[in-house]
């Protein structure tokens, strides 16, 4: 299994657990993640879900090798990613992410579904996907909810990679850690703090915020997913994946 889920008192702990591959989101990993989120949401009597990645990198994004191999893979990956964003957003638990190393593309997309995010100052985040012919559209509604329209345009159109400090300044994350040790400490402290709060007030407030923010609605997110899918099956994507991913990686 590349996902682990544990219930620890009032906290559910979900870990992306494939550190040898920098927690790259594969089709099976996303399936496991979505199953784990469903399990936590329906079965766990907890008020907080912690989302972490094992190893040095939170998440390196979706599996581009698989995208290069077939369109069917790409469709499964983007659909699974969209589902994970929705599940995170709609969990009855408040979701706290802790990000070390990097949360690139699909990794950043997962963060947009979270309620809180603590990030290492030197971590790399952002959506450098247009250079492989893909579109971050799938993440745009929830990203825009977090950082606003102007910053979203800058981030997804330019494909710039930002560090943790800038992520906090923009609002993609909301707490900064100077080191891995501090990241672990702050993330845990926040989970414990939230876990001690009255659960009904927390759950009701999250549900109300979801209701107010149409960015999490299926209509909006379905349209966003469709844009990413249309882009991914365009011939440009396979050419650019070949040129800017497969060949560059082989060369290095």
């Amino acid at each position: 299994m590349t996902i682990t889920l544990k219930q620890d008192g009032n906290i559910s702990r979900l870990v992306l657990d494939d550190s040898t591959r920098r927690n790259t989101l594969t089709v099976s990993m996303l399936e496991d993640m979505n199953a784990a989120l469903e399990e936590a949401g329906s079965g766990h009597r907890t008020s907080v879900l912690e989302l972490r990645g094992s190893g040095d990198v939170f998440c390196a994004g979706i599996d581009l090798d698989a995208c290069h191999a077939s369109n069917a893979n790409t469709v499964a990956l983007l659909t699974g990613l969209s589902k994970a964003i929705r599940r995170l957003r709609r969990l009855p638990q408040v979701v706290v992410a802790g990000v070390q190393g990097a949360a690139i593309a699909g990794g950043s997309a997962l963060l947009t579904g979270c309620d809180f995010c603590c990030v290492e100052a030197e971590a790399k985040l952002g959506y450098p996907v247009t250079r492989v012919g893909l579109s971050a559209a799938v993440s745009v509604p929830t990203l825009q909810g977090k950082i606003g329209a102007a910053a979203t345009r800058g981030l997804v159109l330019e494909g710039r990679v930002i560090n943790g400090r800038e992520a906090v300044a923009l609002g993609l994350a909301d707490q900064l850690a100077e080191s891995r040790a501090e990241l672990d400490e702050l993330t845990e402290a926040r989970c414990q703090n939230l876990a001690a709060k009255p659960p009904n007030a927390l759950k009701t407030t999250k549900a109300w915020l979801n209701e107010l923010e149409s960015a999490g609605d299926d209509l909006v997110l379905d349209a966003a997913l469709q844009r990413s899918l249309d882009t991914a099956v365009h011939s440009e994507a396979s050419e650019m994946l070949e040129k800017n991913w497969i060949q560059k990686r082989t060369a290095s």
């Binding site: 909810g145 709060k197 009255p198 659960p199 407030t205």
Partner: protein, 249 residues
């Protein structure tokens, strides 16, 4: 209506709306909410007025809802939350700009008043924030206004985290527009007021009305719905238990 807990003074186009319950840090009780509504109605009907300054007498701007006064009456708490939702819509939809002068503390419902004003000015030591969830209460009334003011992402983390912050942090979060040394608070409010008065009365009014129109009806409906949601949560056992703990012994 005779008013004792909320004052209104008018001078040179400026309406000063004062919360006058300093012994309770201007905590909002049902009477106060009614009086505030009546004051705002008077402001609405006076075409000579061009700007509103909302302020609190004494050490604090507003410490939130006066739960202590209705500690044994959950349904009264619910009624107050719905009343606050209604008056917040009324203040927001005024045709003239509003400035909150925030000293000492703006907590919970008091911080809600701050969020609906067009401008809020405070000092670094003030305590500001939404600790509702800590008390088992859902800050549903302020949520739509706060999303509008600081964005959905920041509103989400602030409201779910609970707690309070100081004035300087409130400036960083975009909750207030200015944070000045305490002794310069009046001067800063005065400066802002004068700047608004220096604009064309018609131009400012049309602009404010246009902003209200752009904001649309949905947010006002959401706030009223939030009042009902918040009222139902506060009457639940979880909130009542936490509230009882506040005045234990």
């Amino acid at each position: 209506m005779k008013r004792e807990l909320v004052s209104l003074t008018k001078n040179g186009g400026v309406a000063r709306v004062g919360l006058k319950r300093p012994e309770s840090r201007n905590a909002l009780c049902a009477t106060m909410i009614d009086e505030l509504s009546s004051v705002i109605a008077e402001v609405e009907s006076d075409a000579e007025l061009r700007v509103v300054v909302l302020e609190g007498e004494g050490k604090s701007f507003c410490a939130g809802m006066d739960l202590k006064g209705v500690r044994d009456d959950p349904s009264a708490m619910g009624g107050m939350l719905e009343g606050l939702a209604q008056v917040s819509v009324r203040i927001r939809t005024l045709s003239i700009p509003t400035i909150a002068r925030v000293q000492g503390a703006a907590i919970g419902g008091g911080c809600g008043l701050l969020a609906i004003c067009d401008f809020a000015i405070t000092h670094p030591e003030a305590r500001i924030g939404y600790p509702e969830v800590d008390l088992g209460i859902c800050p549903a009334v302020v949520a739509p206004w706060l999303i509008q003011k600081i964005g959905a992402g920041k509103a989400r983390s602030l409201l779910l985290a609970g707690g309070t912050m100081n004035g300087a942090a409130a400036l960083d979060h975009g909750l207030v527009d200015e944070c000045v040394p305490f002794e310069m608070l009046d001067e800063a409010v005065e400066r802002r007021t004068k700047r608004i008065l220096a604009g064309g009365a018609n131009a400012v009014r049309v602009t404010k009305e246009w902003l209200n129109e752009l904001e649309g009806d949905k947010i006002r409906q959401d706030v009223l719905k939030g009042g009902q949601l918040s009222a139902s949560v506060i009457q639940g056992e979880e909130a009542q238990e936490r509230i009882r703990q506040l005045w234990k012994d």
